[in-house]
């Protein structure tokens, strides 16, 4: 992207945020239009059902617009929204009592690092993640996709760091097994 265009976009976004914080519905709509598709995708990482993901996204945007005055303009607006969406998803799963973490802490070992098959579709990846238990999936997405540290995950999910690590290890194990299965089915090889 042209850097001038990026600066322009940033300026526009800053102005829109200002307007939106004054409850300008048009500005809020524009911001929503810009960020909603990405945020719905983020919510979908954590929540199986797209309608529920949409519900969570709407709640997240409601919080975004009502708490917009507390947004520190020095940081990234997208990052701020994303964090709200993740918290909203965690709250949703907690309310549905779907978020459970097995307490056993296994010693984590590195699993063989292989490249993913290039032909694998995003929908297939999402399906693989969807098949993970809630606890595994949550930690895996937060760590591997969102880039949170174990300490942060532990704080956000109110669990131990060790639990977070073991959940990630198990999630990886399961995911690799599923990827192997997928490759065997689609490409006739058990390599990931």
């Amino acid at each position: 992207m042209n850097p001038l265009k990026v600066i322009q976009l940033y300026k526009n976004e800053a102005q829109l945020i200002k307007k939106a914080s004054r409850n300008n519905r048009e500005a809020q709509h524009t911001l929503y239009e810009w960020h909603a598709p990405k945020m719905l995708s983020v919510c979908r990482y954590y929540i199986n059902d797209v309608h529920h993901a949409e519900e969570v996204m709407l709640n997240g945007f409601f919080k975004v617009f009502t708490k917009l005055k507390s947004f520190n303009s020095n940081g990234s607006f997208e990052g701020w929204i994303r964090r709200i969406m993740v918290n909203e998803a965690i709250s949703f799963l907690r309310s549905k009592k779907q978020l459970e973490f097995s307490s056993d802490e296994t010693i984590c070992q590195d699993i063989a690092t292989n490249n993913i098959n290039e032909e694998i579709d995003v929908a297939e990846i999402q399906q693989l993640i969807d098949h993970l238990p809630e606890g595994y999936r949550m930690v895996f997405v937060m760590y591997a996709i969102e880039g949170y540290k174990h300490s942060e995950i532990a704080t956000m999910l109110s669990i131990n760091e060790g639990t977070s690590k073991s959940q990630l290890f198990k999630a990886r194990q399961l995911l690799q097994q599923q990827l192997k299965k997928l490759n065997t089915v689609t490409h006739g090889t058990n390599e990931i």
Binding site: A53, E54, T66, T113, N114, N115, V122, Y143, H150, L168
Partner: protein, 261 residues
């Protein structure tokens, strides 16, 4: 635990994905935001209402408090006014009438004296005219002095918030003196000295009545001191008048003597 290569690839693929929300989601969100705003406004309205009512209550209490003090004060003032004002007017009028009466008798006496003297000595007519003038001046001065006294008495009385009783006594005394003079006049001619004696006796009685409190059977020290001071002032005033008369008489005497010569 380092991220694995396939995880990074998963991340890249997922990050590139976007899901378009359904068409009515924005409308839902907008409605929710509107509802929240109206809620906030209503909350603000309630807070405003509560604040306004508190302010109102405070204002009302202050007004009531002020109103109470206002209503109390006039009551006191009204009672004072009702007690003192009419009395003042009455006493003033009465004392002034008394003074007028005495003045009238004095002038009458002077006139009668002049009538007697005129046919006897023509030379003395000028003297008597001058005397009359001097007498008038004296009367004027006395009247002024009496007025001042009356005003002083009235001010004292209003400040002390005295009742009608002593004033009625004064009135009674004044009437008594007038009646005495009238009875004396009917039988014979009344001299200035007699009138003065009657007046001074009445004055003494009044002042004693004022000093002496019958209820407590005590004499008011302050009033006594004040009356003594007034007497001293009166004396000095009297001597001044006499001196003035004396000098005036001497001047007239010398003028007449020089003219005769």
């Amino acid at each position: 635990m380092a991220p694995m290569k396939y995880e990074e690839q998963l991340k890249d693929k997922l990050e590139q994905r976007t899901i378009q929300p359904s068409s009515n989601t924005w409308q839902n969100l907008s409605d929710k935001l509107d509802a929240n705003e109206s809620k906030k406004n209503s909350k603000g309205f309630w807070y405003l209402g509560i604040a306004a009512s508190i302010v109102g209550v405070l204002l009302i209490t202050t007004i009531i408090n002020n109103g109470n003090t206002d209503t109390i004060e006039p009551i006191i003032v009204n009672t004072n006014k009702t007690d003192s004002e009419p009395i003042n007017i009455n006493t003033k009028d009465k004392i002034v009438t008394k003074d007028k009466e005495t003045h009238f008798y004095k002038t009458e006496k002077v006139a009668s004296e002049n009538n007697m003297k005129e046919p006897l000595k023509k030379q003395r007519s000028n003297k008597s005219a001058l005397k009359q003038k001097l007498n008038k001046e004296q009367h004027k001065l006395i009247l002024n002095k009496i007025d001042e006294m009356v005003v002083a008495e009235n001010s004292k009385e209003t400040s002390k918030e005295t009742t009608i009783k002593p004033l009625s006594f004064e009135e009674q005394k004044a009437k008594e003196v007038v009646v005495q003079i009238q009875t004396m006049q009917q039988s014979r001619e009344v001299t200035n000295a007699e009138i003065d004696a009657l007046l001074s006796a009445a004055q003494r009685e009044i002042s004693f009545k004022r000093l002496y409190n019958e209820n407590t059977k005590t004499i008011d020290a302050n009033a006594l001191l004040l009356s003594v001071e007034n007497d001293i002032e009166e004396q000095s005033f009297r001597t001044r008048v006499f001196e003035m008369l004396k000098t005036g008489y001497n001047e007239v005497k010398t003028v007449v003597a020089q003219r005769n010569n």
